[in-house]
């Protein structure tokens, strides 16, 4: 295996690497073993602390929390797709009066922290309920990110397609609706699914305004049982499993819709936004 960093190793180097692998493997296992031992020592592995997660009534509550979380994320993404389509196309408009406001709105909501937005929607003049302030916040933020994805997706449609459509005598709206958008959507779907992971992780912010969802349910459980560590482990595991499933779906969609070639619109890093103004 030759990489830019080092040449293909020969037999002696490979033997040395095997030794290092063995040593580091033993070291990591020892660290893990020590951690488990430490948890046991601290009494964190006691059955009572984990009991709620095998008690049907509490599993039911957690399951409902997960469903709430998923419902919020899905609703927010659906609304965000609409928001993103409107403002993504708006940013490409030929009219400056449409282009500039679209640009301003998209850049503003991309640069403002989601939590700040949620608090404003919850406590400010909008006075939304906790549920809707999270959904609206997620919609505005993810919609702005998706607007960029939509714009990039439309621009990624080969120019010849648009020129051919104009040559056939189609008008601007026709070209956008029948030629550019359908092809752009196909390119964008993997990126949209990746954005679902971001939205799903961000629903955890509902914790601050006590919106329904996993983290709020988790807080109720650990207030009752005092098992903060165990609850956090279970909640993280739930998020990780759901997100990995979504990532698998995105990869599958990528292969199915875009083909093996490299993605034209790069999926956004989960949770890390899509950069700020001026960067794309």
């Amino acid at each position: 295996m030759s990489t830019v960093l080092f040449d293909t190793p020969g037999p002696r180097t490979r033997a040395r690497h095997r030794l290092y692998a063995l040593l580091s493997g033993v070291g990591l296992l020892a660290l893990l073993g020590w951690f488990v031992w430490y948890l046991d020592e601290q009494g964190e592995l006691e059955y009572e602390l984990w009991e709620p997660f095998v008690t049907p009534a509490y599993v039911q509550v957690l399951w409902e929390g997960l469903l709430d979380t998923l419902a919020m994320a899905v609703l927010a993404i659906l609304l965000a797709v609409v928001f993103g389509a409107v403002f993504g196309v708006g940013k490409l408009s030929e009219h400056a009066a449409v282009r500039w406001p679209s640009w301003l709105i998209v850049e503003f909501f991309r640069a403002v922290p989601l939590l700040l937005l949620i608090i404003f929607l919850f406590l400010g003049p909008a006075g939304l309920s906790s549920y809707w302030s999270v959904v609206a916040g997620l919609t505005l933020y993810n919609g702005s990110v998706l607007a960029e994805i939509v714009r990039a997706g439309i621009l990624a449609v080969p120019k010849g397609q648009v020129e051919a459509a104009y040559a056939l005598g189609m008008r601007k709206t026709q070209v956008m609706v029948t030629i550019q958008l359908p092809q752009a959507v196909k390119i964008m779907i993997p990126a949209i699914i990746s954005q679902c992971v971001v939205a799903l992780k961000d629903t955890s912010l509902g914790y601050y305004v006590l919106a329904p969802g996993l983290t709020t349910v988790g807080r109720q459980i650990w207030t009752e049982f005092g098992n903060q560590f165990q609850t956090a482990v279970v909640l993280s595991a739930t998020y990780i499993v759901v997100n990995l499933l979504l990532t698998l779906l995105a990869t599958w969609a990528q292969r199915r819709l875009v083909g093996e070639r490299r993605p034209i619109v790069h999926p956004v890093d989960p949770g890390m936004g899509h950069g700020g103004p001026g960067l794309s």
Binding site: L5, F6, L123, G124, L205, T215, L235, G275
Partner: protein
């Protein structure tokens, strides 16, 4: 608005705390993330797997839960009991952000084509020369835009520290918000502070890119 002007020192303190959180977490994540990336592109299979696992686990966990681990769960284990909030915030932010830094750095290294290194070796450059004058300069250039995205997102993510009692910008906005018509103004003022920080990072990245731009 009068509240903001009367207590402008509180606002500035909050801004300073956000800056501290961002700069310290940024530095820690850059160091730790680069080390992780070194593990992930290195030749030792076990360490590669360990790095991959860390990134997969952390990237799919919400930052809020990382904060829950550091601020709420760790004291149960007897850790971070008397640690200052700022330090705990930096720890949580760095644990999370370094996974993304790792991915950015790794993609930068992968962006350099193998042919470049092979050519460098073929003309007899040593390992240090290959790295120092061929591979790393190209990798740095490729890494600037994704790294800037990560740092911008991290700066915005510092707002989550407000949930756990740090009075940085978001916590302060919560404090000033009082159900009056002023709330929109207050929101816009605090948003402006974040926009300034985001624009600074963004401008820095664009500057670096321009400076390091090479003819290809």
């Amino acid at each position: 608005m009068d509240d903001l002007l009367d207590q402008y020192d509180l606002v500035l303190q909050a801004f300073w705390l956000t800056i501290q959180l961002s700069v310290l977490s940024g530095l820690c994540s850059l160091v730790f993330g680069t080390l992780l990336a070194a593990l992930r592109v290195g030749p030792i299979s076990v360490l590669r797997a360990a790095g991959t696992t860390y990134v997969a686990l952390v990237r799919n966990t919400p930052l809020l839960l990382v904060f829950v681990f550091v601020f709420i769960a760790a004291p149960n284990l007897g850790w971070f009991v008397g640690t200052p909030f700022l330090v705990k915030g930096v720890i949580a932010m760095s644990v999370y952000t370094s996974a993304f830094v790792c991915e950015a750095v790794r993609s930068g290294v992968n962006a350099v084509s193998v042919g470049q290194a092979e050519a460098a070796r073929a003309i007899g450059l040593t390992f240090t020369q290959t790295m120092g004058s061929v591979v790393l300069p190209q990798a740095f250039r490729a890494v600037v835009p994704p790294l800037a995205s990560v740092l911008i997102a991290m700066t915005k993510n510092t707002s989550i520290a407000a949930v756990f009692g740090l009075m940085e910008l978001t916590g302060r906005m919560r404090y000033f918000t009082n159900n009056s018509a002023d709330d929109t103004v207050i929101f816009l003022v605090f948003a402006a502070f974040y926009i300034v920080l985001v624009e600074l990072i963004s401008a820095g990245a664009i500057g670096l890119e321009r400076r390091w731009r090479a003819a290809r």
